[in-house]
Amino acid sequence: MANATLTPDARVSSGEFDLPPSAWVEAYRTMVLARAMDERCLSLQRQGRIGFYVPLEGQEAAQVGCALALDPKDWVFPAYRELGVALVRGVPIQELLDQFIGNSGDRLKGRQMPNHYGYRAQNFVVASSPLGTQIPQAVGAALAARRRGDAVVTVAFFGDGSTSTNDFHAGLNFAGVYRSPTIFFCQNNQWAISMPRSHQTMSATLAEKAEAYGFGGVVVDGTDLGQVYRAVATARARALAGDGPTLIEAQVYRFGPHSTSDDPKRYRSDAEVAEWRRRDPLLRTKEEIMKTPGWTEAQDTALWTEARSRIAEAWKAAEGTPPLPPTSFLDDVFSERTPQLEHQRRELLGLLERKVVHE
C-alpha cells in the first residue's frame, strides 16, 4: 500500500484551511512527546511496571494534525490508540500514566486497561475495547449538539479494520440521513492486528465507502501534518455550515506491534516496515520545520530531552501515588448504590476485615 494513489480532495488543497506556520513547532513538540511516551511505556511494560500498552508510532502526524484542526468544544470519540489526540487536547501526561497504573490518581478509578481512557474536561470521551462502537455514538452527540444550537462537531476515530464493524455501517448511515456534523477519521494504518488492509475489504479506498451513505470521503497522506490538518479543518467547516459529515481516510502505518501482546514478525516483513519508516511523520515534520530560519538540531534535541524528562517526572509521581481504595470497584455502577450493591459492599468489607481478601 506504500504506493497507494492519494486522491487529494480539491477542497483540501485550498489555502484557507492551512495549519498556520506558527503552529508547526508546537505540533512537532507534541509529536515528539507522543513518540517519547511510546518509547517509555513500551519499556515500562517490558519491565512489568505497567500491564499493557498500545503504541501509536507512525500515526503521530495524523492524530496531531487532526486534533489541531478541532476546537476545544468539539467532542472526540477515540479508540485506544489516540495518544496524540489526547495530548493536543491537553490531557496531562500525569493523568495518562496514573491511568496506565490504575492508581488512586486515575480519574477512571482503575476500571480499564492502559490506553482505554477518557477525560470529560477535555471532551475526550472514554474509549472502550469493542471496535467501532464509538462511531454511532459520535453521530448521536453531534445531533445533540446541533439540537442545543452549539457550534460543535464530533470526531470518531477508528482504524481500517473497524470499517468492517456493524457500528461503522450504522453510524455512517445515520450520519448521512441526519446530516450530522461529524467527522469520521479513519487511520488506515494498513493492519488490523495481522489482517492487512488489502484483505479487510475489497473497496479501492476506505474513503469511498462514504458514498454508500450519500456523503463524501477523502484520502489524505496521514504522514503529512499539513495535509491532514487541511482535510479536517475543511470537513469541520463543512459540518458546521450544515453540509454534513465527511469520512477522512488518513493513510499511515503502524510501525510497532499492535500492542504489547502482539508480535508483528509473525505476519509482516521487515522490508515493508522499513519502506514506511522512510515516511516517518516525525522526520517529515522535522524536515518542514528545519526550513524555518533559525531552527537548529540543538532545538530538536532539546525537545526530546524535555519530553523524556517530563515523562520521567510524571512516572515517578505515578508510581508514588497510592493504590485505589479496595471497595472502589463497587462504585459508579449506578448513580447511587442499589441495595444489592450496598449488600455486596458490606460483604467485601467483611472479607477485608476478616482478612479473607487483601487490598
Binding site: 477518557g118 470521551v125 469493542p130 454511532p136 459520535a138 452527540a141 445533540a144 464530533t154 445515520f174 442499589t338
Partner: protein
Amino acid sequence: MTELTLVQAVNRGLAEAMRQDADVLLLGEDIGTNGGVFRATEGLQKEFGAERVIDTPLSECGIVGTAIGMALYGLKPVAEIQFLDFIYPAFDQIVSELSKFRYRSGGQYPCHVVVRAPYGGGIRGGLYHSQSTEAFFCHTAGLKVVIPSTPADAKGLLLTAIHDEDPVMFLEPKRIYRSVTGEVPDGDYRIPFGKARIAREGTDLTLVAYGAMMVPTLAAAERLAEDGLSAEVIDLRTLVPLDEAALLASVEKTGRLVIVHEAARTAGFGAEIAALVAEKALYSLKAPILRVTGYDTPFPYALEHLYLPSEERILDAARQVGRTG
C-alpha cells in the same frame, strides 16, 4: 385520573416527560408518522415535531448507539425497539457500552438512555415476536430493568425511568397493552424503582411474578382463595434494583414460594429469585420452590398456549406447594 389501557399510559407518560423537559426525545423505527407499530407513540410527532420524535433507519445498532451519544451530550433519549426480539443488533451497544459508560469512566460519563421494548408472548407472534429475555439485561451490571403490569405503573415507572440518571431497560408487556385498563393519574407522578407492589396480601404462600404474568397469577390467587389458600402476590415491578426485602419478608411469612415468568426456565430471572431465597430465607421454607415458566425451547407459534404459564398451571403449582411440607 383517567381510565387508560397500558399502551395509552405509556403514551401519556412519554408525552408528559416531553412536555416537562425539552431534552427528552424519542427515536426508533416507525414511531413518528406511523405512531409506532403498537401506537405507543401515536400523536407525539404531531405534538413535538420530527426533531423530537425521530423515525430512524432500520438499525437497532444505530438507534441505541445514537441514543448513547445524545445522552452523553446531555439529552434524555428514549429509544424504542420495535419488539424485544429485535434488540440483538443493538446488544453490543447495550451490554458493552450503555451499561458500562459510567463505570468505565470512573463516573465521568453518566449515560442515561431509556430503552423501551414490547416483550412477551400470547399474541400469536411465534419465535420472533414473543420472547421474554429480561434475564440477559438483569445479568448485565449497570442496567436497570423495569417491567410494569398496570397502566398506572406503566406511566409512573416510565416517568421515573426518564428522570433517572442511569440506563433503564423498560420492557412493556405487549400482551396486555390493550387488555388491561385502569385508572391512571393525570400529570406527573413517579413510582420509585426497587419497590415491589404487593398486589394481594396473603399468608399461606407467596406468588412472585411481573409484567403480563400478573394477570394469570392474580387469577390463580383468586382461585386459591376459593380453596381456602391465602396467597400473597408480589409484582416485582423492577427486577434491577430488586426489592429483596419485600420478597424475603413475604417468604418468611408464608414459607412457600412459586415464581412465575414466561421466559424459558433455565437461567431465567426466576432462578435468581429462588437462589436468593435459598440463601437468605432457607430456614423459612416449608416446601420446595417451584417455577412456572416457559419451557426450554424457542418460543413456538401454534402451541403457544401450552408454552406460556397459564392460570391453571400456576394454580397447579401453588396447590402442590400449598399441600407440601
